[in-house]
Symmetry: C2
Subunit: 658 residues, 2 copies
């Protein structure tokens, strides 16, 4: 085992191999030894840890190693003049630093690690024979070592490791910081988890902070009896809440662009470069190379071909969406309605309970099938990159959940046409879904982790080894046993963020679409979200493995879903109000309906007017960027021009000036 | 008089001074002579033309002169690597060429001309005394010559000249090209008139071409009697037309970005640099310099100050809009309603005629006042540049015209609730407004021009000079007598494009908002637009002076107005349909109304869904740009980085490599 004296290195990747029973005599043939040697040859700092059931190789990469990998990968990074250029090791100074002072972001580092780990091939002139626990593996010339070892299951997994120092710091400053609930160290989260997760928490924080206003309003409405004024107060509440939601979605865009201004994320990195933990380049739709070549040969045809390619892709996307929508309406809708109706007409509580059990079982199955079908369909679309594809998946799967969550409530609202039943249903759902889900979401991974630990111990015990040896002394083995941050559907495209965002969106729709029916729902949601911030933080820091970083730096599809929910809620609330006034019989239907229709149209107009009124990028962000980049540009404007206008001229000019 | 042998120079700017009665003996004191000498010193090619009433100095600038001016102005131009950099004469090769092969666009050239013309100051150490027609003018040290001469009215005007060769070519290939009505040489129009006017004609052409489809549909509906199917066909027509309009606005955005990809317009030139024909820097809201300085001193405060500045400006804008909307509703609406009502209740045709005359007189007055108030209000807003300010004006003034044009029709629709009266009103308006306006628009400038010519001749005749001398032999004098391309309101911010776009938008609203009432209106509009293309072209080429080029390269505020009209027309047409079915009594109101409401909501959703579905930039434009810029970037990536990372390092590296 080799250990570097320099303890500064942070081990960020772990490679898991099974613990060997037989120790090889000839070390140079030993598979683990060769692996470590190769890693060291590449430039990694390597540490081997022998755990109870497995052996772990921890990898850290010095800056030079990462830089070389980045140059090989042709990673484009933001430079001081605001343009993205290919990384070069020698010209490190030209690139914008990360907020924590490092050159590479966690996402870029991870890409480099993958490139290096999965880039090891047999460069020698002969086949190498590796031995592992008696097995013999022939490492052919030019063959990829890691893929080979993965295929014979010697390398069980490659996964990102927690950085203990930073994790503890975050635990203190974030998850266990109890006074100011909504403040979070977003920049540190970005450095540690990457942009996508940081953006989620920024969104959650802002959402919670904004939620306090309608929560207070809704509670007031519930607690104070307005008497005859009730009919006026409710529309006011509705209008305020819709305006609040519109403002929120608009101000979130501003916040997002302010965050992106702080983090030097190049637009090209954001359109990911197709590296996944699996090491193979994912078959993402690169700007089609065949098409690019046509560009050269025939200027006249290029446009036509590109147009055809674009519209074909769009048509495919449209077809897929149509399939999903069609099957949701034709298959899921009758099912949900049947359940809601049966639940309504049945008398016996026992049969109701049984029905719900069957329903819950069936719905899980349906969701899973729906997710799988969606993933299949998406694979045929030519979305530009993984994140776009994930967005496409989100839309499709959200349709499923939307139907599942709300159709029952709509049914109740339509059937009973009175608010008290609707209110009961809403309270039921809110309490059930939020409290239960939060519990399950956080306890389940921990239980699974405990069970895994138990199994490992148990196995060893069976083999009759002494009890005291099975304390999990090595942190890396504990981490290996933890669950990864994965989505309940389609692990290929989405990670655990999908579930977290889904929860938020369903909650948002529930409280907003039926705002008039049950104003204090906002208070429920606010309390739930306050808890959610901490529990999600704890989940990421303590319960789960460090997630694989993702490229995207916006909320993506979810913001569009939020906006769709706002639109829906304008319509549903107007319908609710119309029903309410119709039933109470105090207004005649004619002027009342007209007033509600006018209100609806004004609100719809406001929704689209405001999104123009509030620009998506704050002025100070623009000014800041303009200042930084133009300063840098102006400083070297002449030289840049000289560089562009003629290659070797640069040197002539250089000499002349000297 | 001085004439260059080199006849290649195209004279693009004319300076008008009055024709002198007394010829100075000492030429060096003669004002005109000094002016010409100064122009030549600056680098212009000068030609003097003596007209009948005035004397003209025609200016042409060789590339070197323009380049020097551009470098002084620090004009930012698109370079081959896709970044905008300050122009440098020596590095011309680094910049993207215009489609016609020249270095500068007409807008940039015009800016340079203005900079040079209005940049002449007395650099000598003594006050110069200039004589003109007996008057003595003291040109102080450091004083601006042109401003001085303008203030004493010796320089009557500075205006852009037509380029006879290109004008004739355009006349042949554009205005007088009769077979394919909708095809226009957009690139040549761009080179000759600048981006804004080219975009207008591209928009008009595309609009007309697209208009043919609903025109055919509408005519079919009119000519064929569907009998009992009528009630089904009309909603179908409505849905088709709305979809058509949505698609049009979306595809226009694509077309616009495709056009912009062809023309190398840098984003910074588009945010104009504040030069107007008046020569003074317009007081446009530059990114506030005081604020920029705060950036340096206090990083913590910067954000706050910028936020305050931004929101204050937005609040101002909001206040102004509110004032305009309020006064339109409180002042204009009652007036228009009063007129519509009086017209309805009066019996005598003579009184009706008188009323209309009074109304027309009053409405012109009101519009003018409204325009002036709007311009005043806008001056207080801190819009970023002239084009943004012009957009703000467009919104405000369009509100005025919207009320004026449609309120009468709405009144009729509401009052009579039957389609035949509404149809009559629509036909009346369409015929009147379109045919008459087209006539007036084109004949008025010509009549004014003829009258001006006549007056000049007449004056000379009075002085008793011989008749045959007064033929207008010099083209430049004729051009001087022509009208400029100016807006009917607020000349400071908008040119004649305002009127042209206004006409289009009002027509669009008229035919779309009442589509269900009068389907063949689309055919009217299509014929009118076909004529409009040619007459507008003729107007610009023959009847008017060459317009001052403008920076913007999009339709700007007008596209938003079109989209607003689409939204409005979804609502109005649904209302019309509801009324129609209500009156016909074939459907019960309940299901009919519900169906119409659902249709409305689905269409509204489609409107916003489609704008996401159809991306604003075609894939081939993006691919094309990516290819060009990345090629250039990759070619000099290393050198660029070297330039950015360290100044003098460039030269060291350069030497080493040699």
């Amino acid at each position: 085992m080799k250990k570097h004296g320099n303890e500064e290195h942070v081990f960020e990747i772990g490679v898991v191999i099974p613990r060997r029973v037989v120790q090889e005599k000839d070390e140079s043939c030993d598979c683990a030894y060769v692996l470590v040697k190769e890693f060291e040859k590449v430039g990694f700092v390597v540490e081997r840890v022998i755990g109870i059931a497995d052996e772990f190789i921890k990898l850290a990469a010095p800056l030079e190693t990462l830089g070389r990998a980045a140059a090989e990968l042709q990673i484009k990074k933001r430079t001081l003049i605001g343009m993205d250029l290919q990384f070069e090791v020698e010209e490190v100074e030209a690139f914008v630093k990360q907020p924590d002072g490092s050159v590479f972001s966690w996402y870029e580092r991870f890409q480099c690690y993958c490139h290096l780990i999965y880039g090891i091939v047999n460069n020698s002139k002969s086949v190498k024979t590796l031995k592992f626990d008696g097995k013999e593996i022939h490492w052919e010339i030019g063959e990829n070592l890691l893929l080979k070892l993965e295929s014979v299951e010697i390398v069980k997994q490659v996964f990102p490791l927690h950085d203990e120092q930073k994790r503890k710091k975050l635990l203190r400053s974030w998850a266990l910081q109890w006074w100011d609930f909504t403040s979070q160290p977003i920049d540190e989260i970005y450095s540690y988890y990457g942009a996508k997760i940081a953006i989620y928490f920024a969104f959650l924080g802002m959402f919670t902070r904004w939620m306090l206003f309608p929560a207070a309003f809704g509670l007031t409405l519930q607690l104070i009896d307005f008497g005859s004024l009730k009919l006026v107060v409710l529309p006011i509440f509705f209008i305020m809440v819709i305006l609040w939601a519109i403002m929120f979605s608009q101000f979130w865009k501003r916040k997002n662009s302010a965050l992106l201004a702080r983090w030097p994320i190049s637009s090209i990195v954001a359109a990911d470069q197709g590296y996944k933990i699996s090491g193979r380049k994912s078959s993402s739709w690169q700007p089609p190379m065949e098409l690019m070549k046509v560009f050269e040969t025939d200027r006249a045809k290029e446009k036509e071909i590109f147009q055809r390619h674009e519209w074909l892709g769009r048509l495919m996307r449209f077809r897929n969406d149509a399939i999903i929508i069609f099957s949701i309406i034709c298959l899921q809708l009758p099912f949900e309605l049947a359940y809601a109706h049966l639940y309504e007409v049945l008398d016996s509580d026992i049969i109701k309970f049984g029905l719900t059990a069957v329903y819950l079982f069936a719905i899980q199955y349906i969701t899973k099938i729906g997710g799988k079908v969606s993933v299949k369909l998406i694979m045929n679309e030519n979305n530009e990159n993984t994140e776009k594809r994930a967005d496409s998946l989100v839309y499709k799967v959200f349709g499923l959940y939307f139907m599942q969550t709300y159709i029952g409530i709509f049914y109740h609202a339509l059937l009973h046409r009175n608010f008290s039943t609707l209110r009961q249903v809403l309270i039921q759902r809110l309490l059930l879904s939020e409290v239960l889900e939060n519990l399950v979401e956080n306890s389940l991974p921990y239980l699974k982790y405990s069970y895994k630990k138990y199994r490992v111990r148990h196995k060893k015990n069976e083999k009759g080894e002494a009890r005291e040896k099975f304390q999990f002394t090595s942190r890396v083995e504990k981490e290996y046993l933890k669950l990864s941050y994965s989505a309940s559907i389609g692990e290929e495209l989405e990670d655990g963020l999908f579930d977290d965002f889904l929860e938020l969106a369903l909650q948002f729709g529930m409280i907003l679409m039926f705002a008039c029916a049950f104003p204090p729902a906002f208070a429920f949601a606010a309390v739930n979200n306050l808890m959610e911030i901490r529990t999600d933080a704890l989940k990421l820091l303590v319960i789960l493995r460090r997630p694989v970083p993702r490229a995207a730096a916006t909320v993506g599809a979810w913001l569009n879903i939020f906006q769709f929910l706002i639109l829906m809620s304008i319509c549903t609330n107007c319908a609710l109000l119309a029903w309410l006034y119709d039933e109470e019989g105090k207004w005649k239907i004619e002027p009342g309906l007209a007033a509600i229709l006018i209100m609806e149209h004004v609100l719809l107009l406001t929704k689209f007017g405001l999104s123009r009124f509030i620009p998506e990028e704050p002025a100070w962000v623009r000014a800041n960027r303009a200042k930084h980049t133009t300063q840098a540009q102006d400083m070297c404007s002449k030289k840049l021009l000289r560089t562009i206008s003629g290659g070797d001229k640069t040197f002539r000019e250089g000499k002349k000036l000297e």
